[in-house]
């Protein structure tokens, strides 16, 4: 999967799960996911599992810094470095 494809998958997931029901265009690669309340604690388990599915590898949840979930950009750097 290419970098833009992964970003689109992440965006699609976020848009379909966010309580505020944003349009895809509202969620940019820099939009803050946690601070703005787009994703809640309810979402985070499924989101981590989705990321693992996308990258085909486990995420080390013991070592995750919450900052990694700031935006699509930070997610790409943390979890999909080889695709970028």
């Amino acid at each position: 999967m290419t970098d833009p494809e992964i970003r689109d998958h992440l965006r699609e997931w976020i848009v379909s799960h966010a309580k505020s029901k944003p349009a895809a265009g509202d969620v940019t690669d820099q939009t803050h996911l946690l601070e703005t309340g787009l994703l809640s604690s309810l979402d985070i388990v499924e989101f981590v599992l989705f990321i693992e599915e996308l990258r085909g590898d486990e995420v080390d949840t013991d070592e995750i810094e919450p900052e990694v979930f700031t935006s699509i950009d930070t997610l790409m750097t943390a979890f999909f470095a080889e695709a970028a």
Binding site: E35, L42, D62
Partner: protein, 530 residues
């Protein structure tokens, strides 16, 4: 005995004993006891200067995971008031209703709530004093709301010489509005002496010292947060408050802050388990692993206990009306699994001084070991519901043959002669299906068992005048085979208890306190049906 003490005494005594020790850490900010006490005194002095005559004895705090929210609570207590927490993550209408009904004249607002001030004040009657100690400029707000007084950072005066207001042990320490239910929220009046009795029992049991570091996973509108604050501060320990995003990764936070006293709802344990954060030995710093607020599944406490090998794990139980928690059960990896009922950890024994009655519908005691509603009384019995005599009279009753008032918990329990108190579910969760009395918790246990999911909910559906015609299940296993689950459940349940359908759920709706929201689930069934 409370011997005249009120909730604030523990904190301010610790501030004299351990002025340089950390009292509070939030995000990157750490405040010592001297600093937090200083802020609290400043806020108290500032409010006392502006409050005017005829004020009641309650101060509201509109805030969330910010030092000012905690200083606001201590400031309210310093004035001799009780505090009324307002939660910026709740709908503003709800916060306004709480402010209106509690008639607090003064409100302390932290920066996380500042944006909501206009909405909070919209339509509110009476003049308020709104203190925003972190705001540089309040002129705009003052211009928009001429009826109210706004105080910003520049208006905060030094409270170094400010005298503490008188505080009555029988007065309200905090007023908490119950959430998650429909209709008008009830304000539970918790007296200072209730909290003092609770804190005394807890710090003794957990031998809390100034070296301890307490987690604070609960919002201030959830009374379990009072355990975190007042048990930590009673003995000079540090309260560690994760930010909203840190709270999503509790494992990382425990390690970073070297938490020694962990306290959360079981749902947080479920989340950690699903995210594989409960690896054996992961959290050696934890001395006490405490859970409260909803039924605690055996496999969650087992996983947590293994992850915190130096901890003793306990299950606490208690409604707000009996002050935070009033029974507890110590988990023993050897003996406890056999004492669990339907995969749920027992709720154990009453706290020191608290008394139990297990009663039938007419509040007559049932024979020991029979199921019934749990009634309790003792030093943690609260003052009832704020300005609601009718609801108070319904829930705070003198059972036949008793001289004292007991609180009806609405929870069904069984208390075997030779074992701990076992939680069976809400009285409301016992329904009649086709005339049979059915405990929904029993169906839920079977669904959890056959699916391997941590959470399963059963609802009576479709509803009838006398109960329900059948049962529908919700199972937190999105990838399971619903038909196979139904099949397996049917083999273990009599026909009238068998679910007619099982919905596979990716995530359960939670109420404001993080518990599974049954009413929201029922609403989805109603939507489907209409």
């Amino acid at each position: 005995m409370s011997d005249g003490r009120t909730i604030r005494d523990g904190f301010f005594r610790s501030a004299e004993r351990h002025p340089e020790r950390p009292a509070l850490t939030i995000g990157e900010v750490e405040l010592t006891y001297a600093e937090l006490a200083g802020r609290a005194r400043d806020l108290a002095a500032t409010l006392d200067r502006h409050a005017g005559d005829g004020e009641g004895a309650l101060t509201a705090v509109f805030g969330h995971r910010h030092p000012t929210a905690f200083a606001g609570i201590l400031g309210a207590l310093h004035r001799g008031h009780g505090y009324v927490p307002l939660n910026p993550s709740f709908p503003t209408d709800r916060c306004r209703a709480m402010l209106e009904r509690s008639r607090c004249r003064c409100v302390v607002v932290d920066p996380t709530a500042t944006e909501q001030i206009d909405a909070l004040l919209d339509g509110l009657e009476g003049a308020r004093v709104v203190l925003l100690p972190d705001a540089d400029d309040v002129a705009e707000l003052a211009g928009r709301w001429p009826a109210h007084t706004f105080l910003g950072a520049a208006d905060v005066v030094s409270g170094a010489d400010h005298a503490m207001g008188e505080s009555d042990p029988n007065g309200i320490g905090y007023l908490l509005f119950t959430s998650g239910s429909t209709g008008r929220p009830k304000g539970v009046m918790v007296a200072h002496r209730n909290v003092v009795a609770f804190v005394d029992a807890m710090v003794e049991r957990y031998s809390v010292t100034e070296q301890d570091r307490f987690s604070n996973t609960f919002d201030l509108t959830f009374d379990l947060s009072a355990f975190d604050m007042f048990c930590a501060w009673e003995r000079g320990a540090c309260l560690c408050v994760p930010t909203a995003s840190q709270k999503l990764f509790p494992g990382k936070y425990v390690k970073k802050q070297e938490i020694t006293v962990w306290f959360s709802v079981p749902s947080t344990g479920v989340l950690m388990k699903r995210l594989r954060m409960l690896k054996p030995g992961a959290y050696p710093s934890i001395r006490w692993a405490l859970f409260c607020g909803e039924a605690l599944p055996v496999d969650v406490i087992e996983a947590f206990a293994a992850a915190a090998p130096n901890a003793i794990a306990e299950n606490l139980y208690g409604p707000t009306e009996l002050t935070i928690a009033c029974t507890l059960y110590r988990w023993d990896p050897e003996a406890s699994p056999a004492e669990a009922h339907l995969g749920v950890v027992p709720i154990g024994e009453p706290y020191p001084g608290m008394e139990i009655r297990v009663c039938d519908e007419a509040q007559n005691e049932v024979p020991r070991g029979e199921p019934g509603e749990l009634l309790m009384t003792g030093p943690q019995l609260t003052l009832g519901y704020w300005e609601d005599e009718e609801k108070t009279a319904q829930a705070f009753v003198v059972p036949p043959g008793e001289a004292r008032t007991f609180y009806r918990t609405g929870d069904r329990v069984r208390w075997p002669l030779d074992g701990p108190l076992v939680y069976l579910g809400r009285v409301d969760n016992q329904i009649k299906i086709q005339g049979y009395r059915v405990e929904l918790g029993e169906i839920e246990a079977v669904l959890r068992d056959v699916s391997g999911a941590d959470v399963a909910i059963a609802l009576g559906w479709p509803r009838t005048a006398s109960g329900a015609d059948g049962v529908v299940g919700f199972v937190g296993a999105p990838d399971a085979d619903a038909d196979a689950l139904l099949e397996a459940a049917r083999e273990r349940l009599p026909s009238y208890m068998q679910p007619s359908a099982v919905h596979l759920v990716e995530r359960f709706p939670l109420n404001a306190n993080g518990k599974v929201d049954r009413k929201a689930l029922a609403a989805t069934l109603e939507e489907e049906a209409s």
